[in-house]
């Protein structure tokens, strides 16, 4: 939709050319050696890896186009792609500031906020899985370990983990093994997925190599992530930036398939554009949005893996109507571009602040977009063919069987109102912000119980204890 078939084909050919000619720098001897023995050309001295055409095509052939992200509660499993052509939302990760409902200014994120975040996500029917924000009130060396522990204790959904250091990675995986029921069970039902990021342009740093190796060893799905900042780390022209993201994702797909053929990889292109006045990087600008849509389409159609990008969020430094507007625009464009996972729910200030109210709103907007996308077959029933033939010229459809049978097909909003003004006043439902606050309070006051057993909880605490001992 955002690229023609011929354009996708042309970019695919260029990506193959790039992988073969220019290649990527991999700053990790172990990974370099593994790639070399799997058939890539890798030079130990320059650390440059290149992938020939047939190697790439073989890798794309074995990279799965469908698989499942398992949830702590199997009812929340996420088969990819979404069975009815929709998508899954996912929350922000890594934000450092938290805006309490009614609060004036965002404040540093605490460990308790992670619990709240997970509790809220549990009730968000369109948010498939949860990441954790960046907690300030714990030793920073184990901030990710502490956050993951809290998340596992409060979530019944799949968890997405963004490790902060290679030292903490080991403990994060240990926790996944504990919560997921051991190595074999975790491989069958991966309740956790990991992010691995390129250092744009065209470089892979040691930590991400470690993540890739560990994920492939344990069968943990990876979100192969590229975050180009157009004008800074990638060409300023949106399609140039799309290309950078796509080839970096391609490199990660190929590396994963060489390490573990059939390994589940999600192409994750998070597109930023640098503001040429301030130098800040943004994801809500039209250039970044177009790039996000094109990157999704390119990765999906050319490489055949599920896709993931920001499908919410705003660059506004304050939570206001700009935040809600930009988030809804992002959701619309990315959903229509066909992304399988819409990330960033609840975030503003370009991924650095989160708001529970925005999370609830994003969930609603995602529901709306899913309904828009639902479509379905075009047959006589969908057309109402017989009813049209039967109805009198100038007649009504309201009383027909067809309307009766389909009247519940529509999406019902939980937050928006379409009341007549006096009805709305009479119900005393307040404005959208007040309704968001009411929904927030309702969820927080009635949290779902813990899903993991006390034994598992204790074993997780033990892992945190080990991490604390070793790293702080």
């Amino acid at each position: 939709m955002f690229l023609s078939a011929a354009q996708v084909e042309g970019l695919y050919e260029k990506a193959l050319l790039f992988a073969e000619r220019k290649g990527f720098k991999v700053e990790h001897d172990g990974l370099l050696t593994a790639l070399k023995s799997a058939g890539a050309s890798a030079d130990a001295k320059s650390q440059i890896v290149t992938f020939g055409r047939s190697l790439v095509e073989d890798a794309l052939r074995v990279a799965p186009s469908s698989f499942k992200l398992a949830a702590i509660d199997p009812l929340n499993d996420l088969p990819l792609p979404h069975p009815s052509g929709g998508f899954y939302g996912r929350t922000n990760t890594g934000a450092t500031r938290y805006l309490e409902p009614g609060g004036a200014e965002p404040r540093p994120v605490t460990l308790d906020d992670v619990g709240t975040w997970a509790t809220l996500t549990g009730q968000m029917e369109n948010i498939g899985f949860c990441g954790f924000p960046s907690v300030s009130n714990v030793p920073q060396e184990i901030a990710d370990v502490e956050a993951m522990r809290r998340l596992l204790g409060a979530s019944s959904k799949h968890v997405w983990v963004q490790p902060y250091t290679d030292e903490s990675l080991k403990y994060l995986i240990e926790m996944a093994l504990v919560a997921g029921g051991g190595q074999d069970e975790l491989r069958k039902r991966p309740i956790m997925s990991l992010i691995t990021c390129s250092l744009t342009p065209f470089l892979f740093k040691p930590m991400d190599a470690e993540v890739l190796l560990a994920a492939c060893r344990q069968g943990i799905p990876i979100h192969a992530c590229s975050l180009p900042s157009a004008g800074g780390t990638s060409p300023i022209t949106p399609i140039g930036s799309v290309f950078v993201a796509a080839v970096e994702v391609l490199a990660m797909i190929v590396m994963a398939q060489l390490l573990a053929p059939g390994h589940p990889v999600i192409g994750t292109t998070l597109m930023f554009a640098m503001d040429m006045h301030s130098g800040r990087v943004n994801h809500s600008s039209p250039e970044a949005l177009r790039a996000a849509a094109q990157a999704v389409q390119l990765v999906k159609q050319a490489f055949g893996v599920p896709t993931h990008t920001y499908g919410a969020g705003s660059d506004s430094p304050v939570f206001d109507t700009q935040t809600t507007t930009e988030a809804a625009v992002q959701t619309s464009i990315v959903a229509l571009a066909g992304a399988d996972i819409l990330g960033a729910a609840g975030q503003f200030e370009t991924a650095t602040s989160i708001s529970p109210l925005q999370l609830i709103l994003d969930n609603e907007v995602m529901g709306l977009l899913k309904a828009v996308k639902r479509g379905g077959p075009i047959d006589d029933d969908a057309l109402g063919w017989q009813t049209m033939l039967d109805v009198a010229h100038g007649g009504t459809f309201l009383t027909t069987d067809h309307t009766y049978e389909h009247c519940r097909d529509v999406w019902m909003t939980k937050l928006f109102t379409r009341d007549a003004p006096d009805v709305w006043r009479g119900r005393n439902h307040g404005d959208l912000l007040q309704r968001l606050e009411a929904r927030y309070r309702d969820i927080i006051e009635h949290p779902a119980g813990a899903f993991l057993s006390d034994d598992v909880g204790a074993a997780l605490d033990e892992v945190v204890g080990h991490a604390r001992q070793a790293l702080t």
Partner: protein
């Protein structure tokens, strides 16, 4: 009308060849190198600085103007005394240990150098001990540290402490920045200044100035 209006416009719009030709021509006409520098090149960059602040110029345009100015300066350099050269101070910049984010740090480095600072970039993942060693080695006026992760911000404190322990803290103006960094954090760790973006970094560096040595 200044005789340098054309030259200034050419610096501003990044016309390297024209600027070099005009600088040569001014010298041929017998104008003093110091005057060409101050009333031509430096004056042009002052306009550029003001236009950047007013959001009339984009960052790549500012960087191009600075490069163009340098091309003109190259011709004047042999004719200028050391004291004539406009150097606002020397700055060491780097991203702290454990942190690989460098987009913001690079931008700060580029814009500081376009504003007349001499900048030495220590790169990413810089250990406190390396910062200390380089401050000692270079006698830099400013140390600019960048951190983009809450998990690496403590390294700024560690570096300030290490400077203190090495007896160098009083000799260098410490500036910090990066998305999670705030003025309050700068106060807390005893940094001299904080800036929220590269434009502000120039301002703060100029306001604070180098420590008198």
């Amino acid at each position: 009308m200044s005789p340098y209006d054309d030259l200034k416009l050419n610096v501003e719009t990044g016309k390297r060849d024209a600027v070099q030709a005009q600088v040569k021509q001014a010298l041929d006409e017998g104008r003093p190198a110091q005057e060409i520098l101050q009333e031509g090149l430096v004056a042009a960059m002052d306009v550029v600085g003001a236009k950047m602040e007013a959001e009339e110029m984009f960052i790549p345009e500012v960087l191009r103007a600075a490069k163009t100015m340098e091309a003109g300066l190259e011709i004047l350099k042999p004719l200028l005394a050391v004291g004539d050269m406009r150097i606002s101070g020397t700055v060491l910049v780097g991203t702290v240990k454990g942190d690989l984010h460098d987009i913001g740090k690079n931008l700060v480095a580029m814009l500081l150098s376009s504003a007349g600072f001499e900048v030495k970039d220590l790169g990413i993942n810089v250990e406190p001990a390396t910062f200390v060693e380089k401050v000692k080695e270079t006698g830099a006026d400013f140390l600019g540290m960048s951190a983009l992760l809450t998990t690496t911000m403590p390294m700024m404190q560690a570096t300030v402490d290490a400077l203190e322990a090495a007896g160098l803290r009083q000799q260098v103006t410490v500036l910090i920045g990066g998305a999670p960094v705030t003025q309050a954090f700068a106060d807390q760790i005893g940094a001299d200044g904080y800036a929220s973006d590269a434009g502000a970094a120039i301002k703060v560096a100029k306001e604070l100035g180098a420590v008198a040595k």
